[in-house]
Amino acid sequence: MSPAPVIQVRDLHFRYEDGTVALVGVDFDLGPGETVALLGANGSGKTTFVLHLNGLLEGRGQIEVCGLPLKKETLQQIRQKIGIVFQDPDDQLFMPSVLEDVAFGPLNLGLTPEQATDRARTALAQVGMVDSYDKAPYHLSAGQKKRVAIAGVLAMQPDVLVLDEPTTFLDPPGQHSLTELLQSLPQSKLVVTHDVEFARSLATRAVFFEKGRIVGNGPADRIIEQYHWDQKRTTQVGGR
């Protein structure tokens, strides 16, 4: 018997206020320790989908995270279990210093400043940023900002990491080092990406989004080949 999924999504639909249909009956499971790449054209619904996982967007359908159904009463618990790393780290690093930014989540969980500081230091050590506690975020390089953003969610000790276009703004060495870092983290991971090599090196499975639907699901290599995702394909579709 296979272990219970950490994320289970059933028949998820979502339409933006301007009428754009972004998700149409999405079913998805993420197993413990699994890394899944979400592939698809711009506007195919990938980011919209991940924003549903911790209740940032509310669609129609069922979502369960670590056995907890997503609803108003469980929102805070679920936000602790799912750590989302956004595409632009400047959106995520809003506190005046690195340590304070990483401690932001733990403090919101109700930890004491001492416990939050410990968590933040541990998370920064995990991503190799021990020398940057007092630095201001704008003094960091793009790769360092990304690491601190990841530390910010690791400090909340999530069961699942969701990364939206993690290789954006990174140079090849930065991408390589990010891949190594993510491979070393034990959490289940969901990675929205256009970077085929990154998806191949990290993901055990890939799903392919098209017009708000999951149209392909399987080993990353097969999905990339099946949808010619390493060659050409620029179909613009609904969603955002």
């Binding site: 995520q92 005046p96 403090l107 919101n108 400043p113 704008y138 003094h139």
Partner: protein, 239 residues
């Protein structure tokens, strides 16, 4: 950039840098009040206050000329009002306005240049400043840099496509760029809010409180408050 330089200065290690932010904020407050109520023999008092500030700048190991130049940023505003006073036949009031505003700006600069922003905000928070105001200040400080960079990139893009025109066309282009910048900032604000909510934010900023008000801070506060008050009282009694 100006605030990057300030940020660097504020991370120094002088005696003043090491003082608790609350002591420095209260000392600044007392200084500003004393300057504001000083009127008689102000030239002499201004000399005393300037000496105190210069002494503090030197003690903080900040570049004196840089600080004097930076504090002058307040002059365009105060000179405008001073000009109005002068025109209305109050030259002494005009001079006082300029001198007081400059001294106040220099004192405020000294506080900002010796206190890293997180400590400054924490100090203000502990002194009872409303959290909402502090949040606005913090976000403004953090994202000013990002928005300025964005504006700079847009300006470069404009230059690459034929330069920035003078006259009404240039004005229209600048207005358009401003609109785009506003829309992007709005979008960014939404993204930031999402990132905050994702990390459990429920409307109230929790801070890492690790500051301790030590004996040295209390001693500093006493000395920093008593010096301008002593100067003020001495001149008042003497005159």
């Amino acid at each position: 950039m100006h605030h990057v330089v300030l940020e660097r200065w504020s991370r120094g290690s002088s005696f003043l840098h090491r003082r608790d932010a609350r002591a420095k904020i209260l000392a600044l407050l007392v200084f500003l009040i004393v300057v504001a109520i000083s009127n008689r023999e102000f030239e002499l008092l201004a000399l005393c206050y300037s000496c105190l500030l210069l002494g503090a700048i030197v003690a903080a190991r900040l570049p004196v000329l840089w600080a004097l130049r930076r504090a002058a940023v307040v002059l365009p505003f105060s000179l405008t009002f001073a000009g109005l006073c002068w025109i209305s036949g109050e030259p002494r009031r005009a001079a006082l306005l300029v001198e007081k505003s400059y001294l106040s700006a220099l004192a405020a600069l000294l506080l900002v240049a010796t206190t890293p922003l997180p400590q400054l905000l924490r100090g203000l928070d502990m002194l009872g400043v409303p959290g909402f105001l502090l949040m606005v200040a913090q976000f403004l400080y953090r994202y000013l840099f990002v928005i300025t960079e964005q504006a700079h990139r847009m300006r470069l893009a404009g230059l690459c496509r034929g330069g920035l025109k003078q006259g009404s066309r240039g004005f229209r282009a600048a207005a358009g760029a401003l609109g785009v910048l506003f829309a992007r900032s709005y979008e960014r604000a939404e993204c930031i809010h999402r990132a905050m909510v994702s990390r459990g934010f429920q409307g109230h900023f929790q801070l890492l409180s690790t500051t301790h008000f030590r004996l040295a801070d209390a001693a500093f506060l006493c000395v920093a408050c008593s010096l301008p008050i002593a100067a003020f009282l001495s001149v008042r009694i003497w005159s």
